[in-house]
Symmetry: D2
Amino acid sequence: MALSSRGRLGTLRVFGPDSDGIVAACSNLMGKYGCNIVKSETWSDQKENMFFNRLVFTHDQPDKVACQQDLTEICKDFQLENRLNWRDRKKKVGIMVSKYDHCLWELLLRHSANELPEMDIELVISNHPDLQSVAETFQVPYHVIPVTPETKAEEEAKQLELLKNVDVVVLARYMQVLSGDFLRQFPENIINIHHSFLPAFMGGRPYHAAHDRGVKLVGATAHYATEDLDEGPIISQDVISVTHRDGVKDLMRKGRILERNVLLKALEAHLEDRVIVHKNRCIVFED
Amino acid sequence: MALSSRGRLGTLRVFGPDSDGIVAACSNLMGKYGCNIVKSETWSDQKENMFFNRLVFTHDQPDKVACQQDLTEICKDFQLENRLNWRDRKKKVGIMVSKYDHCLWELLLRHSANELPEMDIELVISNHPDLQSVAETFQVPYHVIPVTPETKAEEEAKQLELLKNVDVVVLARYMQVLSGDFLRQFPENIINIHHSFLPAFMGGRPYHAAHDRGVKLVGATAHYATEDLDEGPIISQDVISVTHRDGVKDLMRKGRILERNVLLKALEAHLEDRVIVHKNRCIVFED
Amino acid sequence: MALSSRGRLGTLRVFGPDSDGIVAACSNLMGKYGCNIVKSETWSDQKENMFFNRLVFTHDQPDKVACQQDLTEICKDFQLENRLNWRDRKKKVGIMVSKYDHCLWELLLRHSANELPEMDIELVISNHPDLQSVAETFQVPYHVIPVTPETKAEEEAKQLELLKNVDVVVLARYMQVLSGDFLRQFPENIINIHHSFLPAFMGGRPYHAAHDRGVKLVGATAHYATEDLDEGPIISQDVISVTHRDGVKDLMRKGRILERNVLLKALEAHLEDRVIVHKNRCIVFED
Amino acid sequence: MALSSRGRLGTLRVFGPDSDGIVAACSNLMGKYGCNIVKSETWSDQKENMFFNRLVFTHDQPDKVACQQDLTEICKDFQLENRLNWRDRKKKVGIMVSKYDHCLWELLLRHSANELPEMDIELVISNHPDLQSVAETFQVPYHVIPVTPETKAEEEAKQLELLKNVDVVVLARYMQVLSGDFLRQFPENIINIHHSFLPAFMGGRPYHAAHDRGVKLVGATAHYATEDLDEGPIISQDVISVTHRDGVKDLMRKGRILERNVLLKALEAHLEDRVIVHKNRCIVFED
């Protein structure tokens, strides 16, 4: 939905302490700049006394600097944070992978089918050469940067250099832990897929742990990566039934179907500016 | 959520041809009457060029007549229909049943657990005496009105007399077809639960038909009753897996779990003014 | 399915180290006693080198003592454990509850609808008087035994006295921890419903913990109670979607729907002799 | 599971009128030929008085001709049909597609990930050249055979010539109706994926029809193709939630995720000899 018949579509997210008049103030502001609101979703967290609003609006390339200034002024009065996106360009995405290919295939296939129209895939970075041919099938550059404990700092520097023009990093089963220095370069813009129903089975080998525990469902969780491994804000989760007949390999096979779906759903929400993070929880507005 | 800490909560639904400025006009109007918008959800159906908006707002008992007049005026300009509900009183619900008790139990139990705070259950009407004791467990009046093809008109007159102060009729597995005259007394206020995934298996004995077809899922559908049997606007649907081992009785047993859940979900949406019917389709806003 | 048209139905479960000829040996034995196998399900856990078999057979009241002796002999050869149940009588069930009523209602309603034909509900024990009227609606005896840390041993003695003729104990949201002495009276015959997707959120207040973590699904888990709290073998699990809009109370409300379904499913499997516990994992044969 | 540590795995399916002693007779026969039963699942359809049995057994290349003869003899006595498969070779699969690529990708990707170890993909046939590069990515031959109403008979002859050594045909969104002559070449070996929850929305453009009806779930159905279009025995079905916000294109996008999963699940069951067709219904044994 990058373009509507009535002009370009932009998004505005505002959030902060709840108070009277926020909706009217924001919709009046956008109206002043010739923007028409085609979608508005709000949410008041009464326990936290917080207000969240996401607007989708048409625009005809108004004075964006002035609009942002006015918005900043209004938000200062209401103590709100704001994220205004005119959506004049697609988000640039870098994908990081190791050896598992199912999430990478899914991202590349959905993108090539034009189902992720809000992004361009800039590159794939891996610590292994295995998936080079997958990236090449879609003419996406593939960079191999092996990582060892000793060389991690300098390898991350290389990765960051490659990612310097990227908006969003997708960890599509990248099996290395990123440093805090790396993570801080992309606040709320690194999406990881973890192969369990978090917070169950954090850390490594979650399918083995799930099998040992004898669970009857396995899950997958997409979340923003933070310095607390597997504890970042959750964007999307899903599960699939398993039985006693399923060994660890079967859990992995069934889980792969889940992982790609859950990652895709989270990425769609992120690309469409539908997520607001507040205190380690994600407000995810509907599409 | 009948009362918030900041005052009473009301709802406003407006819908009609899409045009610029609707959101701002409505939120300004409500602000003028001291109402603060705590939730707003909009939807534009670009194919139909239709706009739908649902607002939840706090109010402090303003001049309601004046507010409705102003609203009517604005809506006339925009060619919108409106539904303004100050939620000063609960909706009065009449339940109609035959012999199956699972949906009736569910409604009475959820209500007595205060999970359906927006309604009062006024009475139960049945064409059979079987479920009298269920209603009595919850001190709800139970009226037996047997219906035969010959006496249908006069029996429906008796039913309508009993239902004359009722806002919403729930057909909780009522196995008689209602006449058009009856249905027209409660436009968009009669909710039926059908025991199949509509439009599959319309009409009678859907579990038998599902078993004959060898389906691997059975469903349930809650919809507004209209004169076209089982063809009214769908509010909620769900399915459950079945296998070759499930006979018709098993489908019925599994389906009963579904039916009560689906009916409950639809009724909640209706009671919270979250549904707008447009051309045989339901816009169902999130809770 | 307590009676088939061809005679009574019994069940046989055998399990132990995998070896050749078990299926033939068991089916021949049953044939020798005039039993016809109407259902057989086997499973070989190749990793553990274990074999599991469940047979459903018709019988015409053969010499049961002799049959059990022969079976024991055969199983000795194969180093198998066996559970032979002629199903001549229903299982006697005792329900333990505290204040939440939804699981108790579900058990009583499904039982009264004849959907749990393999059991008789003998009594309900609670540490609170609140649910007396629920039990009375179905003419089931209700015993109040308050429990305090100081009196726990003697109160459990009273509970055990009441449960002395009971086969199965269902903890239908009973909020007290049972002692090892109590649990050992009913090995693999105490079913607990825990209101989370175990192993996530073990212990108290799981809905609060789930809300704090910002999960997008909440779960329920039915398992056999063991001395390791919330770590017993899992029989059944399910989840339901939640969003940022759901507060703790909403999680509880949605979770209640789950809890009753999951508990019911586990109890059905248990009553139909479809579960075999092996090393903290449940083999659950299909119905 | 093509090979176990204890030898090769084979499958036997027998079915016919229910009578005493079938299980013992079959397991004794297999024992006589040195086969050990590692899995047995039976089902009695009491309404139809039919018995179904699927055995998985290890074998060490016994005298297969003799075993089949003995089996045929036994089955004659019991009036059973039998399907004995030593699984000495993989099933040869031909895929037919038109322009949609998602099901083709899924089959090729899962196969290349060794998740469909029971099959070889022999070729892809299409009435359009569009998906040539997809097949080539996996080095699978791709044949373009355009079909018009006038040339259908001769084009089908070409297709049949290409498929002459194939065991199973998968219609992975092949948008042409096959003739009865074609279908009869592969009885119970042509699997079609239909993009609706059958029997709802049979025939063309089911997503459009689903959108028009305003359903809240869309589905996909994998079934054996028969001369009655979209009325063949159902192997697998699933659904996904949709809302008023989803236009026809969104239904298609969501449905594609479903279609590939449902087709895959059905194909797995078929390849593992887990399906028995009886009177337009599928018995699908668990994996």
